[in-house]
Amino acid sequence: MTAVTTGTAVEATVETTAEAYEAAFDAAVAADERIEPRDWMPEAYRASLVRQMAQHAHSEIIGMQPEANWITRAPSLRRKAILMAKVQDEAGHGLYLYSAAETLGTSRTELLDKLHAGRQKYSSIFNYPTLTWADVGAIGWLVDGAAITNQVPLCRCSYGPYARAMVRICKEESFHQRQGYESLLALSRGTPAQHEMAQDAVNRWWWPSLMMFGPPDDESAHSAQSMTWKIKRHSNDELRQRFVDICVPQAETLGLTLPDPDLKWNEERGQHDFGAIDWDEFREVLKGNGPCNEQRISQRRRAHEEGAWVREAATAYAAKHSGKGASGDSGTGGARSARLVEKEATA
């Protein structure tokens, strides 16, 4: 009898506590406060964040491939140095995001395994090929431009570590977009052949860039819930419209045409109308039938496997030298650096 009563009491307490946690979470989100890693959060919120952040991180590192394709063929040393810095940034962005995702209790290893097994996605834009040098410029202007439009509101996302990673990323993306624009401008104002190359690249990247904002609002699986949780701040269609309106005058300055006969200013709406997006193409690429899906993921797997010996060697080296640093006699850089840190920390 006593035992039963106690059991019920405990259950009741647990339930009240869970409700209190949920109420605290809802209140924090409503008040525009940030949720931090060790706070209680609904499991669905956690899962949704892991899904989105993993997909975002994967996109950053898969996105290195189409651009790295042109590093050795960049037309000048200046462009080459810029492109290398950009591709290195993408690796950095991936790492910021994997770190942020890890605060939710997953691990980078687990996320990479899922990417390699095809169980997590990356942005479908990177399944298109970079056929000419002008594609590098078009990616910077349009793909990074679309990414910025998407990502700026994420700087105010309700999950603290994600929002902080995005602040960093957005600062760096601005360089990516501007270098792309400058590069396209140079081509557009160059020889007729260069101008044509730039136009061709814009023709191929424009529609896939619009697809980057995801399916229309009424078909978007996760949108509504993400908006409630303030992970997302604006709808897919809203951001897509914003991007189109930004790009039109930029294209004019470039002297290039956006490949949409229906694109025109709508005085009444104060926005541009634009043509219908081919969502069948989007779904096909998403399903794995894009021009480069197979190539991107097998290249990623190969890079991971071929780098295994480096990871193992570094682990072995660390194991061999662990403990020696404390005695101060190993003379390795590691021991030296560690002592410096200690000195500064106590200073």
Binding site: E36, R38, D39, W40, A85, Q88, D89, G92, L95, Y96, S99, A100, E102, S107, R108, T109, L112, D113, H116, R164, A165, R168, E172, R301, H304, E305, G307, A308, R311, E312, A314, T315, Y317, A318, H321, S322, G325, T332, G333, G334, S337, A338, V341, E344, A345
Partner: protein
């Protein structure tokens, strides 16, 4: 897939310029302290954001629990007299 042994996690603190304290920048994986420092330089100071970096094994950090944040920080809550604005000073009194 190989490489399933994950390198330990490190927290990175960056001093952006002399005169300022180190601020948490993020975290990263590295096999040892030396590599953690090098990786931190490549990851968090690509644009001269720092003049000094600390790396600390994440496992070495002891943190207060968010569950008890109210009770843990409560002692300061009822002591407004620790703030200068608590005190009423006649108008016209200067440099106080």
């Amino acid at each position: 897939m190989s490489g399933s042994t994950q390198w330990p996690l490190w927290e990175v603190f960056v001093r952006s310029r002399r005169g300022l304290s180190h601020t948490h920048a993020g975290s990263l994986h590295a096999p040892d302290a030396e590599m953690a420092l090098r990786n931190a330089r490549d990851l968090y100071t690509r644009r001269s954001e720092g003049v000094s970096i600390w790396v600390v094994p994440s496992a070495s950090i002891t943190a207060s629990s968010p569950d008890e944040k109210d009770s843990f920080f409560e002692p300061a809550g009822d002591k407004p007299y620790r703030h200068p604005t608590f005190y009423e000073i006649p108008e016209g009194v200067r440099h106080l």
